[in-house]
């Protein structure tokens, strides 16, 4: 989805706070452990969690720290999976508990096709309402495959609890100046791209 979480290349942000000031919030390790627990118990998978974070109300997403995003996803998925309700959570918490927005339909993977290392590929001009792991900054852009991964579950299906076929991802190398012409630092940008997001570029 074209959400505010898709931050790559967005402008107006400032200096990175580095080094990051130490802080010690006891609720954060608890959220980390509970998230691991929910996934080990197969209440949801990693892509469902990521999509639940993406579905956070945009103002909430932008304001929330990392583990608040995880907590919101966890609570939202527990509600969606029927383990609790918002009302119960709010009663237990003694206050308002903002959850993620509703989930829509996922989508199937594209028919299998293989790309070779060294091959020039294009990222499809796809607009996906649900979970998708192609960042907007590579949409429609052309790059070269530099590496291939073992197969993973296709996230656009897995993120919606659908049966997800396994497919490889490709580390695709783009030139920054092809992504943001005249408006970037020179670099080679690599993105891990699922096979279904790619199309062949005919030799020119």
């Amino acid at each position: 989805m074209d959400g505010l979480h898709d931050l790559g290349g967005k402008q107006g942000f400032g200096r990175v706070i580095h080094p990051w000031p130490p802080h010690d919030e006891t609720w954060e390790p608890t959220v980390r452990a509970m998230t691991a627990c929910a996934m080990r118990n197969h209440i949801y998978n990693m892509d469902e969690q990521r999509h639940a974070i993406e579905r956070m109300e945009p103002r909430h997403y932008v304001a929330a720290a990392y583990f608040e995003r995880h907590l919101t996803a966890l609570a939202s998925l527990l509600v969606e999976k029927g383990l609790t309700t918002r009302e119960e959570l709010e009663a237990l918490a003694g206050g308002r508990f903002q959850l993620s927005g509703p989930i829509g339909p996922g989508r199937e993977a594209a028919p299998p096709q293989r790309f070779e290392i060294g091959e020039t590929v294009r990222v499809k001009d796809d607009y996906v309402a649900g979970h998708v792991r192609a960042p907007a900054y590579i949409r429609g852009k052309t790059g070269v495959v530099v590496a291939v991964s073992p197969p993973y579950p296709f996230p656009d299906a897995a993120g919606h609890g659908m049966q997800a076929p396994m497919e490889p991802t490709y580390d695709v190398r783009f030139r920054a100046r092809d992504l943001w012409p005249d408006s970037c630092d020179d670099a080679l940008n690599h993105v891990g791209v699922f096979q279904s997001y790619l199309e062949r570029v005919s030799a020119t």
Binding site: P19, P21, P29, A93, G95, T169, N189, V193
Partner: protein, 202 residues
């Protein structure tokens, strides 16, 4: 729509965390010691020292380095390190005097946390995620790493479930050090690519 759902005050993060914990306990999903045990394991086992030891060994053992660059997952397992189920592929990116690799996750904050330790706050913050892909040289300079124009920057966006780690260039002043001492100089920043260990003197 913003959350105008009620007059009710928002529960604090502590209250919300406690509420979720209660739900998981009531359903028997969360067992008594899980949070304690998981946290202890995460804090003890998933530490930057793991990646640092891999780097130090690669600097001192050319055959290991070759294996690590060919198969990062296998090299990590060889040293006794493990991965969560969804990290099926671990790739080590070699810096050279002329090439600098830097890792980000623009869509969330993915990282090889069992090997390099829990991601630092800045890696998970919006500013780094938004900017380092488009303004890599500028952002690195602001973070204290001023790369010469001749250095090629390679940015790696962790959008799939492959996980990356940078293999820094060994600081010249440390030539001949034993692996154990070398591991002590490898910082988490250098494993992400926010540093080249240039500050390390003999």
């Amino acid at each position: 729509m913003a959350d105008h759902s009620g007059i009710q005050e928002a529960a604090t993060l502590e209250q919300r965390t406690a509420a979720v914990e209660l739900v998981l306990r009531r359903h028997g999903v969360l067992t008594d010691d899980f949070i304690h045990d998981f946290t202890e394991h995460a804090d003890d086992a998933w530490v930057t020292a793991n990646g640092a030891r891999m780097v130090a060994r690669a600097w001192t053992d050319p055959a290991f380095k070759a294996r690590m660059l060919a198969d990062g997952t296998g090299a990590a397992r060889e040293m006794g390190f493990d991965f969560p189920e969804h990290h099926r592929h671990f790739v080590v990116l070699e810096n050279t005097p002329d090439i600098h690799n830097v890792i980000v996750c623009t869509l969330c904050s993915c990282t090889a946390y069992t090997i390099i330790g829990a991601a630092p706050g800045w890696y998970k913050d919006l500013d780094y995620r938004a900017r380092v892909v488009r303004e890599s040289r500028t952002v690195l300079r602001e973070m204290g790493l001023d790369l010469p124009e001749s250095t090629e920057i390679r940015v790696w966006d962790t959008t799939a479930d492959t996980r990356y780690m940078v293999l820094p260039v060994q600081p010249p002043a440390t030539r001949g050090w034993p692996a154990e001492r070398l591991a002590g100089i490898v910082t988490q920043d250098s494993l992400i690519g926010a540093s080249r260990l240039d500050e390390v003197k003999g």
